[in-house]
C-alpha cells in the first residue's frame, strides 16, 4: 500500500514480495526510494536490517537436513514468521518433517505475495479501516512466547532476552532488534562456556 504512494505500478509490489520477501526491508525501501538513495546504500541497509536472519539460520542447522534445492528454498523463506512457526511445531515423524517445513515456508510465502499484491491494488482505489490490524503481529509473538515456554520450561532464555532487549533499547534504539539478538546469543554462549567449565 505504501508503495503506491510513490506512484509505481502495483505489479512491482508483487515482484518485490516474491523475490525480496522481507517485510521490514520492503517497508524501509519506500523511505529510501523517496529519499533517492543509491543502490549500494540500499544493498547495505537491506543486508543490515536482515542480518538477524543469520542467527535464525544458525539455529536451524540441525533441523534442516540435506534436502538439496528444497533446503535452499527453506533458507530463502526463513523470515521472522516462518522461523517462529518452524521452531514451535515439533514434528515427530522425521520423514514428514521435511514436508511440514516446506509447506509452512511455501504457505507463508504465498500469503505474503498475495497480501502485498492486494494491498498494492486496492491501495489507492478505496480504503478499509485497517487501523489496529498491526496488532496481529504482537498477538502472534505473544502466543509464540507462551508456546516456547510450554516446550522449554526454563526461565534462563527469557531472562536473557528481556535483559538484552532493555540494554539494546538504550544503546542502539534504531538497530534494537539486531543488537538485542546479537547480545543475547553472546550471553547464551558465555553461559554455555561457564556451564561446561563447572562440569
Amino acid at each position: 500500500m505504501l508503495f503506491q504512494d510513490l506512484g509505481y505500478p502495483w505489479y512491482l509490489a508483487t515482484l518485490m514480495a516474491f523475490f525480496v520477501y522481507a517485510g521490514t526491508a520492503q517497508f524501509m525501501i519506500v523511505g529510501l526510494l523517496a529519499a533517492g538513495v543509491g543502490l549500494t546504500e540500499i544493498a547495505i541497509s537491506t543486508f543490515l536490517i536482515n542480518s538477524r536472519h543469520i542467527f535464525y539460520g544458525l539455529s536451524m542447522l540441525n533441523s534442516y537436513g540435506d534436502w538439496g534445492l528444497r533446503k535452499v528454498y527453506l533458507a530463502f523463506g526463513l523470515t521472522d514468521e516462518t522461523y517462529s512457526l518452524v521452531t514451535t511445531i515439533n514434528p515427530k515423524d522425521a520423514t514428514k518433517k521435511e514436508q511440514q517445513y516446506f509447506l509452512i515456508t511455501a504457505l507463508n510465502h504465498s500469503y505474503w505475495v498475495i497480501s502485498c499484491t492486494i494491498g498494492a491494488v486496492i491501495g489507492s482505489s478505496f480504503s478499509i479501516n485497517t487501523q489496529g490490524m498491526e496488532f496481529t503481529l504482537t498477538a502472534l509473538f505473544v502466543v509464540l512466547v507462551i508456546e516456547q515456554w510450554k516446550k522449554i520450561k526454563k526461565l534462563l532464555p527469557f531472562m536473557i532476552a528481556i535483559f538484552s532487549s532493555i540494554i539494546a533499547l538504550y544503546l542502539f534504539s534504531e538497530q534494537m532488534l539486531l543488537g538485542s539478538i546479537a547480545l543475547s546469543v553472546t550471553l547464551l554462549i558465555v553461559n554455555n562456556l561457564l556451564r561446561n567449565r563447572h562440569e
Binding site: 509505481y8 512491482l12 515482484l15 518485490m16 522481507a22 526491508a25 526510494l33 543502490l39 540500499i42 544493498a43 537491506t46 536482515n50 542480518s51 538477524r52 536472519h53 543469520i54 535464525y56 539460520g57 544458525l58 539455529s59 542447522l61 540441525n62 533441523s63 533458507a75 530463502f76 526463513l78 521472522d80 517462529s84 521452531t87 487501523q131 489496529g132 490490524m133 496488532f135 496481529t136 504482537t138 498477538a139 502472534l140 509473538f141 505473544v142 502466543v143 512466547v145 507462551i146 516456547q148 522449554i152 532464555p157 527469557f158 536473557i160 532476552a161 528481556i162 538484552s164 532487549s165 533499547l169 534494537m176 532488534l177 538485542s180 539478538i181 543475547s184 546469543v185 547464551l188 554455555n192
Partner: protein, 105 residues
C-alpha cells in the same frame, strides 16, 4: 536508466542482500552441526528471539496514553485466552479484533 529499470535493479539488489543473510549460515557451518555449543544455541535461541520480538513490537507504544492502555488490555486478553483455550488462531484473532475495535472506537 529509466524508472522501471531502476526499480527492477533495486529489487534485484534487495533480493541478493536478503538471501545472503538467510543462506550464509547453511554455507559456512555445513558439517559442523553436531557441535555441542551449536546444539545449545539451537535449543535456546527460539524462546529468546520470540521474547525479543515481543519487546520489539511493543517498543514504540506510548504507555501513557489510550493506545498504551488498549495494547496492555489486548495483550492480557490474548494471553488469558491462550492459556485457557490453547488455540493460537483463536487467541490471535480475539486479541487483534479487540485491539482494532478499541482503537477505532
Amino acid at each position: 536508466m529509466n524508472n522501471t529499470e531502476y526499480i527492477l535493479m533495486v529489487i534485484l539488489v534487495m533480493t541478493m542482500a536478503t538471501f545472503a543473510t538467510r543462506i550464509m549460515p547453511f554455507l559456512f557451518f555445513h558439517g559442523r552441526s553436531n557441535h555441542s555449543t551449536m546444539n545449545y544455541i539451537a535449543k535456546y535461541t527460539p524462546p529468546m528471539i520470540m521474547s525479543i520480538l515481543v519487546v520489539y513490537v511493543l517498543k514504540d507504544v506510548n504507555f501513557s496514553n489510550d493506545i498504551g492502555l488498549y495494547t496492555v488490555l489486548s495483550v492480557v486478553v490474548t494471553i488469558t485466552i491462550h492459556i485457557w483455550k490453547g488455540n493460537p488462531l483463536v487467541s490471535i484473532f480475539t486479541g487483534t479484533f479487540l485491539y482494532m475495535f478499541l482503537v477505532q472506537m
